[in-house]
């Protein structure tokens, strides 16, 4: 039966190609969308971890309690000592101080809103992964800043200009300082490409009156360290110091959503599969209608209607399997290419979700198991579509079909 089915497929190449193309398109679109969505969510989660929390975040308890009031006076004291203590642990790879402040830019007698980050050199904000468009990185402790292109555009500034920024301080008052813009930078996180300046923690901390202090610490664990276990140990170690020690999954808005996005992606892809299957169904239906005379002849010479239906289903499965496999191979190649080159999402409206941590350059990937799973799913849908299309064979009138003009 399989040989006969294969021969039937090859006999009418045009029909086979049309059917195959519909399957190729459906599988291709589904795999690309899945890749896009998984990659987007994975990068979103990675950005959250990289730029917002680290593996583990430490803050003053009262800072967390009154966070909406930006209570800078509740900072982590004796940062250097704490940092040394944490780095002594074999489980911790690095400790980074991050200061994230709302600020005002003073220009021509007016105050304009902006944000300023203070971070350690070597942290995710100031390292070799930071995109340097112009100039150079800031130096430790220097009264220098790096600006994003959006900041420069919004405030009509350029590389080399000086900017005076006002901040709230730990004393409850305000302070102002002048910085020189020494670099223009970008990040793979859309949230970090907004209206902001970046300098070092060493430069910013004294200006907001928290000498040897930090507003939050991002801890990065060594490879293979169990995050939950290390979190429990750190909580115990620091229990007497009015500090909140939290893991990424405790803080991040995306962590509770992550288990659900598999389901979400499956639902969305099922929708696309359904749409694709209607294409396959229509193609199969047309194929059956076209072959009425041929099928009537087969019934007339003794083939059972059931045999013919199974034959048609096998034909559909063969076309579906080959087409799905071709499509999957093409998808693998394209996804791998974009996994290296990336897809620049600026200009595709990524700015609309600024503040959410979406990547502005998307590097695609897809788990290997998904390809065979999609192929099998597509074959199942094709089989169902073919069975529904071949229901007509049951009602085929042999005599009138044979009488019809070819």
């Amino acid at each position: 039966m399989i040989k006969l089915a294969l021969r039937n497929c090859l006999r009418n190449k045009k029909r086979t190609i049309v059917t195959g193309l519909s399957v190729i398109l459906a599988v291709f679109v589904v795999l690309l969308i899945m890749s896009f969505m998984y990659s987007c969510f994975d990068q979103l989660a990675e950005n959250e971890r990289k730029y917002t929390t680290g593996d583990i975040r430490i803050r003053n308890k009262k800072y967390n309690e009154f966070e909406s009031l930006m209570p800078i006076q509740f900072y982590i004291e004796n940062y250097s000592e704490l940092r040394a203590e944490l780095l002594n642990r074999s489980t911790i790879k690095s400790v980074e101080s991050v200061l994230s402040l709302s600020s005002s830019l003073y220009r021509d007698g007016k105050l304009e809103n902006m944000a300023i980050y203070g971070a350690d050199i070597g942290s995710v904000y100031i390292n070799e992964d930071t995109i340097l468009y112009e100039g150079r990185f800031v130096e430790n402790g220097a009264r220098e800043v790096m600006a994003t292109p959006i900041f420069l555009k919004q405030h009509s500034l350029s590389l080399g200009d000086s900017v005076t920024c006002l901040f709230k301080t730990a004393s409850g008052g305000t302070n102002a300082a002048t910085f020189k813009i020494v670099g223009v930078v970008g990040y793979l996180n859309s949230e970090m490409n907004g209206n902001l300046l970046i300098t070092t923690s060493d430069a910013l901390a004294p200006l907001i009156r928290i000498n040897d202090g930090a507003l939050e610490l991002h801890l990065w664990l060594n490879e293979g360290v169990d995050e939950e276990s290390e979190l429990a140990k750190l909580k115990e170690l620091l229990s007497d110091r009015e500090l909140d020690v939290q893991s990424w999954s405790e803080i991040s808005w995306i962590a509770p959503v992550l288990p659900l996005y598999d389901i979400m992606i499956i639902i969305i892809d099922a929708l696309f599969f359904f749409i694709a299957s209607t294409l396959v169904f229509n193609t199969m239906m047309m194929s059956t209608l076209e072959r009425k005379k041929e099928l009537a002849t087969m019934i007339a010479i003794g083939f059972s209607r059931r045999y013919i239906m199974i034959l048609l289903v096998i034909e559909g499965l063969i076309i579906s399997f080959i087409a799905s496999t071709i499509s999957a191979i093409g998808s693998i190649i394209l996804i791998d290419i974009f996994g290296v080159v990336g897809i620049d999402l600026t200009g595709f409206g990524i700015e609309a979700v600024e503040g959410w941590g979406f990547p502005n350059i998307l590097y695609t990937h897809l788990a290997a198991w998904i390809y065979p799973a999609v192929i099998i799913a597509e074959m199942a849908i094709s089989a169902i579509a073919t069975i529904l299309a071949t229901m007509r064979v049951r009602k085929l009138e042999v005599a009138s079909s044979l009488r019809e003009e070819a």
Binding site: G109, S171, G172, T174, A176, A177, T178, L207
Partner: protein, 242 residues
């Protein structure tokens, strides 16, 4: 006889009306007893809110036009200078290369994070130019009998659009000042106490924030010197930062 008694009562009442002060006279008397050519003092401000309290010290000098220079002398913001000239505020921060200028609405900004605004601590107390006011009766506060004067700002640019002041009937000094928004909502209340000898100046000033009820500020003033010759460069926006 009855007619005579009635006439006597009317006469006494009329005389009393003549002798009673109107709002303008009360304000004039207040300005008289508090008048100076120059003023300098040292003050400590303690600010309390639900997050805790901070204390800072500053020096102040002021001329009779209301031009004021505040210099923070201790605390985390030591070295900052705030100069008020007319309706402009100039702020010198040691870490900034330029002087920050605020005008108009900037006067309502907080001084050192306290409930005192720049307007509260500086400026011209010539109420005739800035407000319409009227006598609204009497009130006793802490055993002190006071006139109640109600003020309405003449210009929209005025920091406090409505005020109510309780003025000691004996000394003609403000005891309580209630500050309102244009819609009549109470923003804060300032209490004055510890007046020195003439010219009167309060050495204890407290605020109560009517909006953020956990916030309050207390200022204690010391080393008050009146009418000392001032270096004019201190009240010059080009020189004050040096």
């Amino acid at each position: 006889m009855k007619k005579l008694i009635v006439l006597l009562i009317i006469a006494i009442f009329s005389l009393a009306q003549i002798w009673a002060l109107n709002a303008e006279q009360i304000i004039d008397k207040m300005e008289d007893v508090m008048e100076f050519e120059t003023l300098s003092f040292t003050a400590t401000i303690k600010n309390t809110d639900k997050l805790g309290s901070t204390t800072q010290t500053f020096n102040a000098i002021q001329n009779d036009d209301g031009d004021t220079l505040l210099t923070v002398t201790s605390g985390m913001d030591k070295g900052q200078k705030i100069l008020r000239l007319d309706d402009n505020i100039y702020i010198y921060y040691p870490d900034a290369d330029e002087i920050i200028r605020l005008s108009g609405s900037g006067l309502s900004n907080s001084f050192l994070g306290s409930d005192f605004s720049y307007e509260d601590l500086s400026g011209d107390d010539d109420y005739d130019d800035r407000y319409n006011y009227k006598l609204a009766g009497s009130e006793t506060y802490n055993g002190i009998d006071c006139y109640v004067i109600k003020f309405t700002a003449k210009k929209l640019s005025e920091t406090y659009q409505r005020m109510e002041m309780l003025i000691d009937k004996n000394r003609y000094v403000p005891i309580v000042e209630r500050l309102f928004s244009k819609s009549g909502k109470l923003l804060k209340t300032i209490y004055y106490d510890g007046y020195s000898t003439k010219p009167y100046f309060p050495t204890e000033v407290k605020t109560e924030n009517a909006v953020k009820k956990t916030n309050k500020s207390e200022m204690k003033v010391t080393n008050i010197v009146f009418n000392k010759k001032l270096d004019s460069s201190l009240l010059d926006k080009d020189d004050f930062a040096w």
